[in-house]
Amino acid sequence: MNDIITTACKFVTSSIGRKILVALTGACLLLFLVGHLAGNMTIYGGCAPCGGKSWIDYYAMGLHSMPSWLLWAIRLGLLAVFAVHVLLALVLKYENYNARTHYQREGTLKATLSSRTMVITGVMILAFLLLHLWQLTINGDPANCYEHVVLGFQNPVCSAAYIVAICCLFMHVRHGVQSVMQTLGLGTRKVRPLYNIVAVLFALVVCGGFISIPLAVLTGILH
């Protein structure tokens, strides 16, 4: 037992161990994004055949009708995953910054812009998440979800904030997806270009889906 604890401690304090934790929590968050997007897409479903409410209202009420222990278990689980991801990433970044001596003239060969701005886009996403939770979870009403969303996005400032944040998410996910594969040891020169394509496509689909909602409201498709 002692060996297991000692090794586990060494693992979570080592460079590779922490990177693997960031990658695994990142992968969980990517799956969460897929689920979130699938739920959001019900906003295009229009009105349900009975009751006169929108599909997304039923979806929101369905989520809230879960047993409260399950709802809170999911929420706390997500919070834990998110906290590990953010804290470890910031600690790693701090170490990386301190490991460097800066060049007078910087040169870059192939590091992508998204890979070099992971912390900036990550912090932007964190700030957005707080806004998002405040607006739609804390001040939200599951029974009037559709109306709440449409009213919110009819404010161009609100829509613009969401669109900028989702663009940050695009950049974060675009590097994140292929980085997860490499950190988990699944990268080889044969599949790495494929991971890059998958990363861009994944980011396009997910972020395109999210952005489509404020755009649809602004252009009057959803009203």
Binding site: D3, N96, A99, R100, T101, Y103, G185, T188
Partner: protein, 255 residues
């Protein structure tokens, strides 16, 4: 023979404690077949004639195999042409160019003087586990020891690392993952090194962490800057091997 007139922006620093600065030099009538180091030799000869301190830089074999030469040229270690600085020729530059020359920068590579840094941190990673504990004898006869062709190729490609440190210097995080992973993979893949794989991986990674290198963020600058084309596949392999080694250590598969 074409000649070049260049402006050099060179990092000068008397010793580790001194405040460093960029100084400007004119390199006149540089033959385009000169190597980058020969160009610096020509500049240094002039400096010596003028009674000034020549520019200090590391070099040894000058044929691209020893890993001693360094120099970050225009922000890229070895100039980014997939060769070492000694094999970089002045025909890669144009007349009138301004060239920035800085040392290989990383906290783990303390600067000694001008363009010379102490890269012995890499030796410490090797000393932690980059070897085989027993005598393996001289090179075995071909096919005496069965090794898959693909495995042999991968080990050979990893073994091409000359330990110059360009991976660390090019990394936005000053991570030594490409070096460590190449040295570990080279031995882990072959029958002589395989029995000590877990022990080696743990020792080398822990030493790498202890020396103050940064953490890899999968930007692959190292691979692009490597004069020997060492692949980041080795980094993925090290991540894999590290997980296996930790699991083995935790459950006591080896002690």
């Amino acid at each position: 023979m074409a000649t070049l007139n260049l402006t050099l922006k060179v990092w000068r620093q008397e010793n580790a404690q001194a405040q460093g600065r960029i100084e400007t030099y004119q390199a006149k009538n540089i033959p385009d077949e000169a190597s980058f180091l020969e160009m610096l030799d020509i500049v240094n000869e002039e400096l010596v004639h003028e009674g000034k301190e020549p520019i200090h830089f590391d070099h040894d074999c000058r044929e691209g195999i020893c890993g001693m030469c360094s120099l970050t040229i225009n922000g890229v270690p070895h100039g980014g042409k997939k060769v070492t600085t000694c094999q970089l020729h002045m025909r890669q530059f144009k007349d009138g160019d301004t060239i920035w020359i800085e040392p290989f920068r990383a906290k783990a590579f303390p600067l000694l003087r001008d363009l010379i840094v102490d890269r012995s941190a890499l030796d410490k990673i090797i000393a932690a586990g980059g070897f085989v504990d027993i005598r393996t004898g001289s090179a075995p006869n071909a096919n005496n020891m069965p090794v898959r062709k693909k495995t042999a190729d991968a080990a050979f490609d990893a073994a091409a690392c000359i330990g110059c440190g360009a991976c660390v210097a090019s990394c936005k995080n000053s991570s030594a993952m490409l070096f460590t992973s190449a040295k570990a993979a080279h031995l882990n893949l072959l029958p002589q090194g395989y029995p000590e794989k877990n022990k080696r991986v743990l020792a080398m990674v822990r030493q790498m962490d202890a020396l103050g290198f940064g953490n890899c963020t999968n930007q692959y600058e190292c691979e692009a800057a490597c004069p020997k084309g060492v692949s980041v596949d080795n980094i993925a392999k090290l991540n894999r091997d590290y997980m296996i080694a930790c699991a083995s250590e935790a459950v006591g598969v080896f002690s």
